[in-house]
């Protein structure tokens, strides 16, 4: 496999200032990325959308932190039994369906394939100016359909989560059965919903690569989505560990 350049080799353009000094940047209100073929614009857009997705991480992280703290507190809750005078906790530990391990593996793999897709695209856009020079025609390299693979793996993860719910329901474990099962469904469903958002973004990127051939926009979408996707992967591992070890 070809060596993919490290992201910092080509991504940090160095010539982009951080608001305040340097190139005049008044303007550029480009309607969320409708315009712009010029290069600096592409780097600015990349930086802006990365900032965006970083803030989305924070929002999602806080959301799941709130749910986790509710989880921890609810786990310790109980009531005094008036007959015996004992403190009764009603939390019953939940045995996780083993399929979750397979799902975890699928999601980890999808993170890898998406990273390949991202690096591939970044390499393409870095080479784009050279290709534009007449007489220089670098060999056409066909790369694996990393985006499609990611979509398939991501879809597999979501299907696997559905299967896990099916298995639990077949075992008679529903949302209201016990707080432990309530939290299982809420955490997995919230995560699946957030991941589905990432799937939509990837579908959009795939449609860009087929229909519009606007490489810059595709790079931005795939780059930002891949960061989001990795974050979703880490978040899943966190949720999995919480559900597994804090029962």
């Amino acid at each position: 496999m070809a060596r993919f350049p490290r992201s910092d080799e080509i991504e940090s353009p160095g010539r982009i200032d951080h608001g305040g000094s340097g190139i005049p940047r008044y303007g550029g209100g480009d309607g969320d990325g409708d315009s712009g073929d010029a290069y600096p614009d592409y780097y600015q857009k990349l930086r802006r959308y990365r900032l965006f997705v970083f803030l989305v991480f924070i929002a999602v992280f806080i959301f799941f932190t709130a749910l986790s703290s509710a989880y921890i507190i609810r786990r310790g809750n109980g009531h005094l039994d008036w007959q015996t005078g004992a403190f009764v906790r009603d939390w019953q530990p939940l045995t996780l369906p083993p399929i979750l391990l397979v799902n975890t593996l699928l999601l980890a793999l999808s993170s890898c394939t998406l990273e390949f897709a991202r690096r591939n695209l970044i390499r393409q856009i870095a080479l784009a100016p050279a290709i534009a020079i007449p007489g220089i025609a670098p060999e056409k390299k066909r790369s694996a359909p990393w985006l499609t693979l990611t979509l398939i793996l991501g879809g597999g993860f979501l299907a696997g989560q559905l299967l896990a719910w099916e298995q639990l329901r077949a075992a008679g474990v529903f949302v209201a059965t016990n707080p432990s099962s309530s939290f299982f469904y809420i955490l997995t469903a919230s995560h699946a919903l957030h991941l589905a958002g990432g799937m939509l973004a990837l579908l959009y990127a795939a449609s860009l690569s087929i229909f519009s051939r606007k490489l810059e926009r595709e790079v931005v979408v795939v780059d930002v989505t891949s960061w989001y996707w990795h974050f979703m992967g880490l978040l899943w591992i966190y949720i999995f560990l919480l559900l597994r070890f804090a029962q």
Partner: protein, 565 residues
Amino acid sequence: MSDASRTDRGTASGILGRVFSRDHRVIGLQYFFLSLTAALVGIALSALMRFHLVWPGASLPFFGAIKPEQYLAMLTMHGTLMIFFVLTTAPQGAFGNYFLPLQIGAREMAFPRLNMLSFWFTLLAFLVLLSAFFVSGGAPISGWTHYPPLSAVPSAGPGQGTGMDLWIASIGLFCFASVLGSINFIVTVLDRRAPGMTMMRLPLTVWAWFITAILSLLAFTVLHAAILLLFLDRHAGTSFFVPEGVVVNGSVLQHSGGSPLLWQHLFWFFGHPEVYIAILPGMGLTSHLLSTFARKPVFGYRAMVYAMMAIGALGFMVWGHHMFVSGMNPFAAFAFSVMTMVIGVPSAIKTFNWLGTLWRGSIRLTVPMMFAIGFVSVFVTGGLSGPILAQPALDMYLHDTYFVVAHFHLIMGVAAVLGIFAGTYFWFPKMFGRQMNSTLGYLHFWITFVGAYAIFLPMHFLGMAGHPRRYSQLTDVHYLQALVPLQRFITLAAFVTIAGQAIFLVNLFWSMRRGQVAETNPWEATTLEWGEPTDSLTVARGAYEFNVPGAKAEFLPQREGQDAS
């Protein structure tokens, strides 16, 4: 001069393009009129509540007598409308959207389409909330804080069924819109500043919007998680918040093991930062206006910035002071109490710096300046009762009385509203190209300012005398008989103050069409929004260069090349 001459960009033409605009100025105005509408509904509700408190049996035309559950529904909706759709929406959504890009020299927000989406989600949230009035059972009655089990059990009262579900849906939409909006604000400030606009040259208004956006990002996501759990308790049979053996209407609920305290923790983790989300933009604007109209630099600019950061950070560590009477661990209460009193330090820094800004300035008592000074006044008055309530022992007594109503209305409601008025009078020339009438403006200020004190100052005495809040009808209670005349006075003061707002409305809509045409920089201010629109600009200096020793002009605009205007 309004900047209507700037060509419209990034916006589709036609009526649809104007309504669904991505232009931050249009979106700002949309937020402005949304919160104006919400404020009018909220004010109408408070008028009805004040009427009912004093004349509980009296029959209103077209309405009949107000029933206790209707009073509680009004209480809930008044709080929700005012806190979410006025105090959160107007300072940040309206003025922030309109003026943040202008003040940092950006042509647009970082994500205009996202910005548009935020507004339409907020509007949808507003409509969903209002629809709660018209469903069977009416609006929810559990107060804007919605403590379970009352809020978690649909059969617990009228309005707790569909009305409560609509409330949850509305706030869910609002949270989503706020998070999108706050991300947009943060990216815009970090990424869109014009060359030369370093962070420490930002106007304090921008700093306030920036810090407020960070608070919104962290707070609304927690509320979102909380209402998700509340919704599941209501409809999926889970037991997060409903404890064992709750009896409603004679039947025992199936829930078991939940904790009402858990909801209070989650809610107030959002709820307390929300107070600062409402007030910080007002603080920023007040600093801005005091400097502009005292013709002096802001006293201690950096201290002001750091104080706002400290208030924002501490705001996340004090939520427990809303829960002293909830049965929380007393040791936790002690910690929250200390942290709460610590907030007095940055607040005092801000107050003294405001006074320092005014000290020996060439003060111009324009209408926006009057409102800014009014802000400082009610901020101090409302703030001073804070350390009293921050002490668990005192709060035990005062918590469910009008003392708290007085405290939070002055510091959060009235102060923030005075800030919104100040912003409206100050930026009106920029938004509509004309000046508001100043005679009507002064009249409006004095009625509002004196009226607000007449309403809320006596409430402290009601509270100290033990008059409970939230009850619909206490006129026949023996130990409160002596307080009835005071309540009547408050109601009359409220009616006069509310009537005074008509002056503002007339002035607002009349001045839009007929007001005196404004110059480019009518207030002789320094910040970027008061310059002629250009294609490129560079920022040369900080935001508050008034009467700088050795400078050739009385004030130095931030924009490069505009030294001697």
